[in-house]
């Protein structure tokens, strides 16, 4: 923990008090009354961020409405709704397992932003929490959390991505040390760190011995940059050693549990749990493997025909993850976030699928020690516009920061330049306290 954070509330209160005395001199009218609100904060230690690339259809999952008919171009949900463990909260029929766990979950149904036409831009927005700027490359949520909270252990990196690398997931101005290690194959460690699959363990060991002995006979370096590089080389050998790499041995888990997690996506979630145990702070798990329906969650045209398979896969993996974490007493310490670049409209396209919708869509929070309410925010009868409790992307980010005890009103610094950690987001206070 950053020692400064313990004193944070006190300092803020002090400032507020001070402001009342200064108010007469400098402050704007009403300043003292509005004051600086006391921050809400949770005690979560980790984030597992599940990314549903392509744009999860909220109306077909966590924000069900009356059914439509693609043949007749009648707008509405694709599937029936079912009741859940939380009164008055329903989800689609293909989420039966999560339905029974909705008291550990909050489907935030009123997330919204203004990009709909471009996946890359919306993906960027949902990773960095704001639109593109021409002058600043913003850090991703994972990099911010890595920057604010660091790793929990010397032998674990703070931020691991299970999916393809891209700039939106990167550290922006926070610098490479807050970037991710990534892997696309759960059976192996992060790309670069892990032993290459064509090099046997024995050969790798021999190589490491060889390089150590050759480095030993090199002239000693006195320049700091060269020493730093040598130190990084030592650390890389350490991280590629067995202690951290054991996390990737999923085969050491009980077969029943592995099966319950499901396919490759489920195995990624299982790996995420193991990385939490190892001390990784932030894990992003990408779900968009495309094999079930080709398009992943981007269900235009025929892509929607097999959408239910994706939903089932999510149901299996996420419900198992929640229960597995709970059983290991990790659920309250681990905030699960399910997010996506945008939602989808209730109308059907010419091919019977759906286009994009940014005006209202759902992201899901689970665990993390929050007071879950099943669902938060209300959309209209077609899940197309927001009726109550809008949650902006900065609000969603502020909620995540707050859950981790991160000051969501602070600024980060791009050199001299202060950049608010979110675009003035306010957490969903109902989930705290």
């Amino acid at each position: 923990m950053n020692p400064l954070q313990n004193t944070h509330v006190d300092r803020r209160q002090f400032l507020t008090a001070g402001a009342t005395t200064l108010a007469g001199l400098t402050a704007m009218p009403g300043w003292a009354a509005s004051g600086v609100p006391t921050q809400v904060r949770g005690n979560a230690e980790h984030v597992i961020s599940i990314w549903l690339g392509g744009g999860m259809s909220q109306i077909d999952t966590f924000d069900p409405k009356k059914k439509g008919n693609p043949e007749k171009q009648k707008p509405g949900a694709y599937y029936d709704a079912i009741p859940t463990a939380v009164k008055d909260v329903t989800v689609c029929e293909h989420l039966p397992k999560l339905a029974s766990l909705m008291d550990r979950i909050t489907a935030v149904r009123t997330v919204n932003h203004s990009v709909i036409d471009e996946h890359a831009a919306a993906t960027n927005w949902m990773h960095v929490g704001r639109p593109v700027s021409g002058t600043v490359v913003y850090p991703s949520l994972g990099s911010i959390v890595s920057h604010e909270r660091g790793a929990l252990s010397d032998s674990a990196p703070p931020y691991v991505l299970i999916g393809y690398p891209n700039n939106s997931r990167g550290p922006g101005f926070l610098g490479a040390q807050h970037s991710y290690l990534y892997l696309t194959d759960t059976g192996r460690g992060p790309t670069g760190l892990a032993r290459h699959l064509t090099i046997s363990q024995q050969r790798q060991t021999e190589r490491e011995q060889l390089i150590k002995s050759i480095r030993d006979v090199q002239p000693e370096v006195t320049e700091k940059v060269l020493q730093d590089y040598a130190a990084a080389a030592d650390l890389s050998l350490r991280l590629s050693g067995p202690s951290f790499m054991r996390s990737f041995q999923l085969e050491s888990e009980a077969a029943e549990l592995r099966e319950s997690y499901g396919g490759e996506f489920g195995q990624r979630c299982l790996l995420a749990r193991r990385l939490v145990e190892r001390g990784v702070r932030f894990i992003e798990v990408s779900h968009n493997l495309n094999f079930l329906n080709g398009a992943g969650w981007d269900v235009h045209n025929r892509g929607i025909l097999d959408q239910h398979k994706l939903i089932h896969e999510l149901d299996d993996a996420l419900s198992t993850l929640i229960q597995d974490l709970e059983q290991r007493k990790l659920l309250d310490k681990t905030l699960i976030v399910v997010s996506t670049e945008f939602g989808r409209p209730p109308q059907f396209d010419g091919g019977g699928g759906r286009g994009h919708q940014g005006s209202a869509f759902t992201c899901v929070l689970a665990g993390g020690g929050l007071n879950h309410v099943g669902a938060f925010g209300e959309t209209n009868e077609l899940s197309q516009s927001i009726v109550a409790d809008p949650v902006s992307v900065p609000d969603l980010f502020a909620t995540i920061h707050a859950a981790l005890g991160i000051d969501y009103a602070k600024s980060l610094y791009d050199g001299d330049r202060p950049v608010p950690i979110t675009d003035r987001g306010q957490p969903i206070t109902k989930l705290f306290g």
């Binding site: 700039n167 610098g175 190589r207 060269l226």
Partner: protein
């Protein structure tokens, strides 16, 4: 107008149409209007766009009812039309329920695509303001369907409810083929009675159907909008009629069957579709040694050949090859030699006389799109036009079998057509291949155009060659074809170079006047004198030495520890943490530039420093406080306790502030580097890769005393100079092209503009000017691509930021939204630059400001000020006269082509010699790259950062002007200095300017590109990755899906970011290279300009050098790889080890290294070769179908790319000629050498 035919007989409307309603031999009842487009006519029709009058209309003998000189009118589409004003309410063009209408016309359709609805005549739906968008009163149209023209009637009704379907369309279900001469069409209807509708073609009633809106009895829309002939919807091209019209009429009656049947009277049979050219073109004599190729742009369509009445556009370029094989077209350049776009479709015409023996032979033609081949006048092969595809949904195209075993198969979606030819005598025959490359919405790429032949009795296809080269067979095998393609590539590179340089010459005269102006300016503003120059001393060393002597003479004989402490520890803290506000600026009235000022304090009246009493010094209190209101510095991290203690102790000790700065850095110059270190350093700094083994050996053996200078000269001539500089410029100018959609501040690929400029060693003032002029094609590599900034609501403000950064050392990052807190630049400065680019005032967008709430929440006085409001307009004004020395006055105008152009004015003000800042920023950048630290630090932000050697900087700036802004001249000067050639043990970059003595260069790490490119070079392998595109089959225009070529150097990669997370959108081979590049700080996602990449070592760097797929593959003794050949040919383990060291680290191994490594090679050395009869040659893996953007949503696309990724991870097959256990040890040795830290550090 044809005066003799039918016309109007009666009515009130006669007044209105007096000018066009003429007596006639026969007439219809109730004709409202008739246009016959005769030669003498003076109608009130108002022509818009491309209309050609007096073209031949239907005439005898084919149409005997018409006069022999009958004329018509021709529309060329693209919105051309006649416009006729309605006369107002109750006009004869208004129809209510119960009113009858007949619309008729003679049409000669030249061009009609399926899906087009082209207007013959209509009222309403013009798209004019003041009229509803759904006001189609009535319209006669022709619809393209299944290759036919069908007659269609369209009108709107008044909607009863808002969502009512109120468009009604009736279309005939029969039609006629376009381009079959004149036809008569008509529609007959009584409004409100849908069953009365009739469509007529050529005097026959044809059936039709209500295909939109259904039959209706609703009231038709009526208003006073215009009547348009030939177009609608504001002139939409797909609604514009292309072809001839005659006798267009509107009747207020349903013409009867008899009348309509008689309308069409044609003598003779049904005409054939107007003939497409089909004859082999006559081309005159051709060289027997060449395949002549010409390129003709702006063809009318990619789907058809020219009609006989169309003429071939003249050749825009030509080239000659040595076979009927071609996979590219030349680059197009504008009149300055900047890349431009071809006007696709482009016809590629290949021709040669070919010797063929008598016999019945098989011809094989390959082409991406429409192509045909004639041999001796006979058409022998034809392929189909290129077609588009739905995004992602195209079925996977199965791989095609080769035409014969061992032959090169056709590539993805390339057509292969077989034809036959009988040759009867042995004279050479003329062969012509015409192919269409690209189209209006396709990139102009020909695919792999191939013409091959299998002679009677043979099993083998060979690519045709001209008669004079027929002895040199070109078999249709991968090996032979790829070799030929390499020659073609080289030939096109030189053709493009020649074309570009010739075009660029057009600007030489202008630049000569600039050179003369620069010389005049230099004469009036001479450079500072080189201090104490003795002949033979490099001036740089002379300046450095003078400074060293000055420092030495100021250094007291006895070193004062406190003084040292002040300059070494205290002053740097004040400078880095305080001076940006309390140095030259005095925020809050406080300056800390001297002891006296610090003791005087600011507006508060409290002294910042009370010597001897840190507790009474507000400086310390403000540094230590937790109060966000008063803490200093106000932004960023609080000062570390360690730094505060240094200041605390200094104040406690009396806050001594020595006047003279004495030398605290070492004044001892580092020794010169050895030849082995020098050659490696020199190669990396000029061509961006390490030298080869033989280059090192040759240099070491050279005994010339001038060999370093000679090597520098040689390297500066190497064309790889351009490759070396590319990464730097791409970062600095934030080049960021997109592989999928324009997004995230993406730009065009102006990399090609930069690359061409560097290849031509364009003087820097010219290169910068032409960049800023943003010319040529934005998507095909012109400097116009620099202008783009996707999803940026003020692209030119973004460019202003980049330009300030790159060329002027002015940092305006903050000025996008508010005045800079730590700089003197304002938001207005930035937007003034933006306006100069835009050539008009620009508006500050809403997003580029600070929300008012920001200020309301702050307790302390804000550091930032917003002086422009969103929505405010800022005029084009040059804001940096004082900073740069370039004043926007009448000294500038003589340097310009067009003084009225604010963009050119900006370019000139930046690059004119008066702008001393520009020249100095450029030389400082070169210096920084070579020495590791700038004379000014950082290079992109000079404000408040003084030069360490002001006179040297001035001198270099003027040398640069005198050299005609030649980057190589400055590089040559610096590389020949002793400074450059010293051991890299300097610490200049972090030193204060006064302490930056340049007694040695700083240590530099290889850039990511240098590491990867050197790795390839040392292993002797060529980069073999996917072309940089997701549309390799060229089925989109470059603005929507572009192709950035086959990378052979690291700078050529573009971002392979896969935001959609789809395996099908990965490029696995490229990803393996990008992984290593990224670990070392490279990125192709360049949202903002960058001078410095991160250089801090991180754990992934040594990790990827050790474990990445790229390392494992490149260090493998792969089948037929150079490393395998080296091992096979090695004379001894010793020589093999030496070779490896020379190749990778350009030195010989020392004894300790030999002791560790040699025995691994010695063991089994003699037996390392597998006996020839035991060698099992690895089989090439089965080909995989091609995944592209167009089929990537198919499930199979994912599995294919995953299989490919798996193959990439497996790496190439090992060389079976090497015994395995020895080979593994050998690879381990190679691996350990490349993992020596020195591989990634510049010596």
């Amino acid at each position: 107008m044809n005066l003799t035919r039918y016309c109007l007989t009666r009515f009130a409307t006669l007044v209105v149409f007096g000018s066009l309603l003429i007596s006639t031999t026969y007439a219809e009842e109730d004709t409202a209007a008739l246009w016959e487009f005769g030669p003498e006519e003076a109608t009130p029709l108002h022509p818009v766009g491309g209309i050609h009058r007096d073209v031949p209309g239907p005439r005898p003998p084919m149409f005997p009812d018409f006069p022999v000189n009958n004329t018509a009118v021709n529309f060329d589409g693209q919105g051309s039309r006649f416009v006729f004003d309605d006369s107002g309410d109750g006009s004869p063009f208004d129809f209510q329920n119960g009113d009858e209408i007949t619309l008729e016309a003679w049409v000669n359709i030249r061009e009609l695509n399926d899906g087009d609805h082209t207007y013959i005549i209509g009222k309403g739906r013009t798209g004019r303001s003041g009229f509803s968008s759904d006001n189609q009163n009535w319209a006669l149209r022709v619809r393209g369907m299944q290759g036919e023209a069908r007659v269609s009637f369209l009108f709107a009704t008044l909607p009863r409810k808002p969502k009512d379907q109120h468009w009604h369309r009736y279309t005939s279900i029969q039609g006629f083929r376009p381009r079959t001469g004149w036809h008569h069409i008509a529609v007959v209807y009584r409004f409100g009675e849908p069953e009365t509708i009739q469509t007529w073609i050529d005097g026959n009633r044809v059936r039709g159907q209500w295909d939109i809106g259904g039959p209706t009895t609703a009231t038709p829309a009526t208003d006073n909008d215009q009547i348009w002939i030939g177009s609608a919807l504001g002139g939409s091209p797909s609604n514009s009629f292309r072809g001839g019209l005659d006798s267009v009429a509107i009747h207020r009656v349903m013409l009867d069957k008899d009348t309509l049947e008689k309308r069409f009277h044609r003598v003779g049979g049904h005409p054939q579709e107007a003939a497409l050219t089909s004859q082999m073109p006559k081309l005159g004599p051709l060289s027997p040694l060449e395949t002549s190729v010409t390129f003709h742009e702006n063809m009318p369509s990619h789907t058809r050949w020219l009609y006989t009445d169309e003429s071939l556009p003249p050749a825009a370029a030509s080239w000659s090859g040595s076979a009927f094989l071609l996979n590219q077209i030349p680059v197009k350049f504008d009149s300055w030699g900047i890349r431009d776009s071809w006007k696709a479709p482009v016809l590629v015409r290949m021709a040669a006389d070919v010797s063929l023996p008598p016999g019945n032979h098989t011809v094989l033609m390959r082409s991406r799109g429409l192509a045909r081949t004639w041999i001796d006048g006979e058409l022998v092969a034809q392929s189909k036009p290129l077609t588009g595809a739905p995004h992602g949904e195209e079925p996977i195209t199965p791989i095609s079998a080769p035409p014969a075993p061992g032959h090169r198969p056709t590539w993805h979606r390339c057509q292969e057509v077989m034809g036959y030819i009988e040759i009867t005598d042995s004279k050479p025959v003329r062969v012509v291949l015409d192919a269409i490359a690209g189209g209006k919405s396709f990139r102009p790429e020909p695919g792999e155009l191939t013409l091959a032949i299998r002679l009677e009795g043979s099993q083998q296809f060979t690519v045709l060659r001209p008669a004079g080269l027929s002895q040199s067979l070109l078999p249709l095998t991968d090996e032979a074809v790829e070799q030929e393609l390499q020659q073609i590539e080289a030939s096109f590179t030189s053709l493009n170079d020649v074309t570009r340089r010739a075009a660029a010459k057009s600007q030489d005269a202008y630049w000569n006047t600039r050179r003369q102006a620069a010389e005049t300016w230099l004469a009036a503003n001479p450079a500072p004198k080189v201090p104490g120059a003795t002949p033979g001393t490099n001036p740089i060393d002379a300046f450095l030495l003078a400074r060293l002597q000055e420092v030495a003479s100021n250094t007291p004989q006895t070193s004062d520890a406190k003084e040292h402490h002040f300059f070494e520890k205290v002053l740097p803290i004040l400078k880095s943490e305080c001076f940006r506000c309390h140095g030259e600026k005095d925020k809050g009235g406080l300056s800390l530039q001297s002891r006296e000022l610090a003791m005087a304090g600011g507006f508060s009246g409290e002294p910042a420093i009370v010597p001897g009493d840190p507790h009474a010094s507000t400086l310390i209190a403000r540094l230590r406080t937790d109060d966000a209101d008063t803490r200093m510095p106000p932004t960023g991290k609080p000062l570390s306790e360690e730094k505060i203690k240094i200041l605390d102790k200094w104040i406690a000790d009396g806050a001594k502030w020595p006047e003279q700065q004495s030398a605290t850095s070492t004044t001892t110059q580092a020794p010169l580097v050895s030849d082995t270190d020098f050659i490696r350093r020199a190669y990396l700094d000029t061509v961006g890769v390490i030298p080869t083994e033989s280059e090192v050996e040759r240099f070491l053996a050279d005994t010339s005393p001038h060999k370093r200078t000679e090597l520098i000269d040689r390297l500066l001539e190497d064309p790889r100079w351009a490759d070396h500089w590319m990464g730097y410029w791409l970062d600095l100018l934030a080049e960021n092209p997109a592989m999928i959609n324009a997004s995230l501040n993406s730009t065009g690929p102006f990399r090609w503009y930069l690359y061409d400029s560097l290849r031509d060693n364009k003087p820097m003032d010219r290169m910068a000017s032409e960049l800023l002029m943003m010319r040529g094609s934005a998507y095909d590599g012109g400097s116009a691509g620099f202008a783009l900034a996707a999803q940026n609501d003020s692209p030119f403000a973004a460019k202003g930021h980049i330009v300030g950064n790159a060329f002027l050392g002015i940092e305006m990052q903050c000025a996008r939204c508010h005045d800079s807190p730590y700089h003197s630049t304002t938001q207005e400065d930035l937007y003034s630059l933006a306006a100069m680019f835009a050539r008009k005032p620009v508006t500050v967008p809403k997003s580029s400001t600070v929300p008012p709430g920001f200020f309301a929440k702050k307790e302390r006085e804000s550091l930032i000020e917003v002086t422009l409001k969103p929505g405010q307009k800022v005029k084009p004004v040059w804001p940096f006269a004082e900073t740069t020395g370039a004043h926007d006055d009448d000294t500038i105008e003589p340097l310009m082509h067009n003084p009225d152009d604010s963009r050119e004015r900006l370019a000139t003000l930046i690059t004119a010699p008066q702008n001393t800042r520009f020249a100095q920023v450029m030389v400082n950048r070169v210096w920084r790259r070579l020495i590791g630290a700038g004379i000014v630090e950082p290079p992109h932000d000079w404000e408040g950062n003084s030069p360490s050697h002001p006179e040297l900087l001035q001198w270099l700036g003027k040398e640069f002007v005198a050299s005609h802004y030649d980057m190589k001249a400055i590089t040559r000067m610096i590389m020949n200095s002793q400074l450059y050639q010293r051991e890299a043990v300097g610490h200049n970059r972090d030193a204060e300017p006064g302490q930056r003595l340049f007694t040695a260069p700083d240590r530099r790490r290889l850039s990511a590109e240098q590491i990867v490119d050197s790795f390839y070079l040392a292993t002797g392998r060529e980069m073999d990755v996917e072309p940089m595109t997701l549309d390799p089959d060229g089925r989109a225009a470059s603005r929507s899906r572009n192709a950035y070529g086959d990378p052979h150097r690291s700078w050529m990669f573009v971002s392979i970011s896969n935001e959609r997370d789809r395996p099908s959108l990965t490029l696995p081979r490229a990803a393996a290279v990008v992984e290593v590049l990224t670990a070392f700080g490279w990125t192709a996602d360049r949202q903002a300009p960058k001078t410095d990449r991160e250089t801090a070592p991180n754990v992934l760097q040594p990790a990827v050098m050790a474990n990445s797929t790229l390392t494992v593959s490149l260090t493998k003794a792969a089948y037929q790889s150079p490393l395998a050949e080296l091992a096979l040919e090695a004379e001894s383990p010793e020589s093999l080890l030496e070779t490896l060291f020379l190749r990778f680290v350009n030195r010989l191994p020392d004894q300790a290294e030999k002791d560790l490594l040699l025995d691994r090679l010695q063991t089994g050395f003699a037996e390392r070769m597998v006996p020839a009869d035991e060698v099992v040659v690895p089989e090439a893996p089965e080909r995989l179908p091609q995944v592209t953007w167009w089929n990537h949503v198919r499930n199979e696309a994912n599995t294919i790319q995953q299989e490919l990724a798996h193959r990439v991870r497996q790496g190439p097959p090992a060389d079976p000629r090497l015994e395995q256990s020895w080979r593994l040890r050998y690879e381990d040795v190679v691996w350990s050498i490349v993992n020596l830290p020195e591989f990634v550090w510049v010596p």
